[in-house]
Amino acid sequence: MELLQIIPQFLISGLTFGAIYGLVALGFVTIARASQIINFAQGEFVMLGGMVTFFFIKSVHLPYLLSAFLAIGVVIGLGFLLHLLVIYPLRKASLPILLLATLGASLFLSSSSALFFGTLPKALPPFSGKDLLEIGGVSFSAQSLFVLIATFFVLFLLYILSHHTHLGKAMEASSTDPLGADLCGISRHLMTFLAFGVSSGIGALAGIFITPLFYVSYHSGTLIGLKGFISAVIGGWGKYGGAILGGFILGVAESLSIAFIPAGYKDGVAFLILLLILYFRPKGILGSPFIDSRRW
Amino acid sequence: MALLRIQGVTKNYEGVKALDQVSFEVKQGTIKGLMGPNGAGKSTLFHLISGIEKPDLGKIFFKEKEITFLKPHEISLMGIGRTFQTLQVWGNMTVVENVMTAMHSRLRGGVLSSGLWLPWIKREEDRAMKEAKEILEFLGLFGRWKWFAGQLSYSEQRILEIGRALGTRPELLLLDEPAAGLTYGEAKDLSERLDQLRKKGITILLIEHHMGMMMEIADEIAVLSNGILIAEGTPEQIRTHPRVIEAYLKRGREGCSESEN
């Protein structure tokens, strides 16, 4: 096949995956903007979003939309629980301990999802039907378009939340100066708690979008989570726009890489990009508001 | 002879001019005082000299060699020791280890020889320990040599920072407010020790708000205000310098109006 013909196809799929990585990255950024914590269990929320929706549709026989909403609710509840049971008790712990605790939580979530939902990979039916759209000889599923729109919608919502509401300002304050925020009557723990809710909700949403596109199994969460984090770093750690931009860059780079190098190396590409960006510009493309502050 | 020469140094922080065309010299074997209201750029100047930050314009010479763009550890190896305004002692090490760590570059031995504890490592360690204890004795911290540095009081930690800087055997010592938080008696002791250091041939550049101490021991004083060098001279000249008096008083008024905004 001609390379020129495939490339637009790869671009489309890259953009779709990029949008999903961007969504996952938004989850990381939401937490980082409220507490300067990195939640390595974020990828598991994505996986659980898909898994729980699948469970509600296939085992409880609920309609698609209802099960999706239920799944988001369940995952948000899990996010709150994660904060209450793991992050809050470790509020005074040092960085490696927090890091390991979220990794432990990720291990727990993925392995117990294998217990509950089985180890078989699962795929949801696409909610836009199976027909393909075609523009200029490039065909793509309507699902991809849907994912793109939803990603930008979430970005818009988060932008409104952080720049035009009191809550967003309070979250940012508790991130940049926790003690100062406490003294102003903003509870940093409450802010972190809320951020975990928002971020797990976004993760679940990403999971619901991703499950129709490819098979999700209990162990795929970790990798998706890491790639989301990498997207956030590429675009500029701590910026919503950067997260989406990084997601697109990573998605396109990954799917284009398939055209040039063996498919087995695909997962390595993301980490290679990560190492390059960390070496040459750790601030990310759009620059990061956090990179010079305490923990980074 | 000028040991340290600062030539037209300028430093900007996001539009704020922290230092503007500052030039002065520090003569060998003297104590030079650096005065100025808070935020005048004194600590910034120290960061520039010790290489932690780089100036936007201007050059810094040490022993007639340019050190402007050297890395902090290279500058330290050339013979400039410093203390920090915000305390930075190694709290998880004992007092004597703090001073011994400062001798790192003068001790022989790498990973392999240290790990195998080859004979000369023991000799080097003993030598370092002896020298560190001498420094502590000189500073009056000898009674605390086995304590963890984090257990020391605030003023003792300040003295320990000087001890650490002395551990590098500096020719020029940059002291950033060494007497802050010290009682009257301790400050008196400190200025006596600084005098002794001068007699040993160590040049000192000193930031201090403690006027009495400054006037007593400094050979020369430079005054910074809003990043500009406004006066330089002997303590007597500075005491009566009209611009110095104006800077301190005007600064006070400005401070009030700023806080109202």
Partner: protein
């Protein structure tokens, strides 16, 4: 009567302090930082005897095998504690250096016919060369970003190992690595391997102990606290970090080589992120900046994983929960907390008895 009570106190006090002294002989010092007067103590002799006699007391081969694994994990954790515990930098890619060591030994012994003893040293050196190449650019990062970058390195290592099948055997791995042997003496039983691994570990502990009581260890600890002050006394901060990273990788390479010779296989799945997390966990559990702690952590976690394995499907969720609980309840190391609790308990019993007496 008052005299009588007084005498009782004396007797008790002596008993309690005796108990405390005995405890201090056995339990590791919670803050085994460099002390100028630090030298080998009686408790070290106790550990040595315990290590030498333990496999003779319990002759179960499974136990021997477990202890071999624990020893290898101990070497890994000891290497990481220099980097994480003393120099204060985090690495989530330590398993990759372990893997590099294993594959170096595997390839050198099976393809090029090197004797295992030479391959052992070569593994360590190759691992630290890789650490140099990786650490040189990456160690300017701090905190989470360093963790992420090292994690990325680990993942790339896994992908490379899996994909370059002609060189590393791909997903299947390399089989038939010869037993470790020195001058014709072959370590072919679990008992022999136990002594091999633990003697290497003891040697490395002594090496590390010397390291941290010399200027090198002081520089590591200085870097961990404040980098500005460290560079202000003429220490090249990034070189010190790189050095600690390379020493840690060297240990990991040695551990990998032993692992290859003990298991006689090298498969990529062994060196995943889970192993890196496990090693960091050992160091945290043992207490940061503590020499014996990581080894105790290695023993406990190796045993824990082996015990959990019998619960099959439930083992991983349980492992995750236990990991989190350990982190919540022992954030500064098992030894530190337990020792403080024990001392507190002993003195509490003492005080309680006294109070009762006085109330009478």
């Amino acid at each position: 009567m008052v005299e009588q009570i007084h005498k009782d106190f004396r007797k008790r006090d002596i008993l309690y302090s005796l108990a405390l002294w005995l405890l201090s002989l056995i339990l590791p010092d919670p803050q085994l930082h460099y002390r100028s007067e630090y030298r080998l103590r009686w408790r070290d002799l106790f550990y040595l005897l315990a290590i030498l006699l333990l496999p003779l007391l319990f002759s179960d081969p499974h136990f021997h095998h477990l202890m071999v694994l624990a020893g290898i994990h101990g070497i890994l954790a000891l290497g990481l504690t220099l980097f994480l515990g003393y120099a204060g930098q985090i690495s989530l890619g330590h398993a990759a250096f372990f893997g590099i060591g294993t594959y170096t030994t595997a390839i050198l012994t099976t393809r090029h016919g090197w004797p295992p003893f030479l391959a052992f040293w070569a593994s360590g050196i190759v691992a630290s060369i890789f650490a140099y190449l990786i650490g040189k650019p990456l160690l300017k990062l701090k905190g989470y970003f360093l963790a992420l970058a090292t994690l990325g390195f680990g993942e790339i290592f896994l992908v490379l190992i899996k994909e370059s099948a002609s060189f590393t055997g791909g997903v299947i791995g390399i089989f038939g690595i010869p037993w470790f042997s020195i001058a014709g003496f072959v370590f072919d039983t679990y008992l022999k391997q136990y002594y091999l691994v633990w003697i290497v570990l003891i040697g490395l502990v002594l090496f590390t102990k010397n390291l941290i009581r010399s200027k090198v260890g002081r520089a590591y600890m200085a870097v961990a606290t404040t980098e500005d002050a460290t560079s202000s006394v003429g220490i090249h901060v990034s070189r010190i970090k790189l050095e600690a990273f390379m020493v840690g990788a060297f240990y990991a390479g040695l551990a990998g080589s032993l692992f290859a010779c003990v298991m006689s296989t090298a498969t990529p799945e062994t060196f995943s992120l889970n192993l890196s997390v496990l090693i960091v966990m050992m160091v945290i559990l043992g207490g940061m900046g503590n020499l014996y702690g990581p080894i105790v952590g290695a023993l406990i976690l190796t045993w824990l994983i082996d015990t959990l394995a019998q619960y099959q499907d439930y083992s991983l969720p349980l492992y995750g929960v236990i990991l989190i609980l350990l982190l919540i309840f022992f954030p500064d190391g098992l030894g530190t907390r337990l020792r403080v609790r024990l001392i507190y308990l002993i003195s509490y019993w003492g005080r309680k008895k006294r109070r009762e007496k006085v109330n009478l």
